[in-house]
Symmetry: C2
Subunit: 178 residues, 2 copies
DNA sequence: ATCCAATATTTGGAAGTTAAAATAGTTTCC
DNA sequence: GGAAACTATTTTAACTTCCAAATATTGGAT
């Protein structure tokens, strides 16, 4: 079992002990006052990449991408299983066109239905079907079992991440201070 | 100045005080032992989305996407300004096909050159041009000025994020414990 | 010398993203 | 009652990413 440098996208092995620490060092030489920000941003990007690839690997056997899973879960979590397209975009923080796209694919698979709202005919209502509910439940169980790709991480460490990143969301104005 | 719910993709305003806290509550009801992991992962995804959109806004006037910037910066940071395509993929942690793609675009704009390696004819060497170097320098200055999208965040908070996320990278096996 | 397994890159295709324009329906306000 | 302004969704087009398959090239084993 050699320590080869393997495939390198999803689950990867860099050729430097810690590429981010290395970049931080490089930055410190020329722009010391910005090195911490650079490293934080790079860390977020890299963590997202790692987590996304693990999560999509868990979801793949169920035929879902992360985007599709999020949409399905959102619907499954509402009492009626129905939500206007626009509302979904807001909740998921994605572009309306992305909602159209994802829901379109889910619809073709019979996991959600689509119908114009009786109240406002501009509005299109997406509704999760029983099959969609089953799949959402199934996929959620799989993700939980897999600890969302970070099962090995103690819960306290996970909570620290949430807390540390709340500062970003506040700083960017998504959240009120709190 | 009303508190309207605005555009909602790039820089967004959710319709709940803190959507992640809300999701954590929901999760706690049914899967309490996984709620922290779910929240951490969701936080990373959301932070990445927010930061990426701010960073791309800074880079846009310079005609670069974040991916293009990273590739250019990587080349600019090597002494010779030259790297094999494969090596770039490893360093940037992206799929080889993505490297082909990005370098192709940079090449068309005269920011990098491409040439087969004299040593190994399977290998293609990408080299940054003087114009590429200038642009990289310029874009880096812009990013620094913008504090990488989190100028408002104190450096200590930024460092906390890097530290907290190092745990993820370790847990996933990208990094040795340290 | 040759064959075969590994390596490096590119191509083609599915998915996702965004911005901008098109379409349709609703509301507001004279 | 009708024009103008606004809102919701979809379409289109341009990018980006990844995967899987194809194409070259190399290097080691026979």
């Amino acid at each position: 079992m050699r320590d080869q440098v393997k495939t390198a996208y999803g689950g990867a092995v860099p050729d430097t002990p810690d590429p981010i620490a290395e970049a931080h060092r490089q930055w410190s030489v020329r722009w010391p006052e910005h090195a911490d920000h650079m490293a934080a941003v790079t860390s977020v990007m890299r963590a997202q990449q790692l987590l996304l690839s693990r999560i999509e690997a868990v979801l793949k056997p169920h035929g879902l991408t992360f985007a599709a899973y999020e949409a399905l879960r959102l619907l499954a979590f509402t009492r009626t299983g129905t939500l206007p397209m626009g509302k979904m975009g807001t909740r998921l923080m994605v572009h309306p066109a992305s909602v159209t796209n994802v829901i379109g694919r889910l619809e073709r698979r019979g996991l959600v239905g689509r119908a114009p709202s009786p109240d406002d005919r501009r509005v299109v209502l997406a509704t999760i079907t029983p099959a969609g509910r089953d799949l959402a439940e199934e996929a959620t169980a799989a993700l939980n079992e897999a600890g969302f790709g970070i099962a090995a991480l103690p819960a306290e460490r996970a909570a620290e991440i949430t807390a540390a990143l709340r500062a970003v969301r506040v700083s960017v104005g998504e959240l009120a201070e709190g």
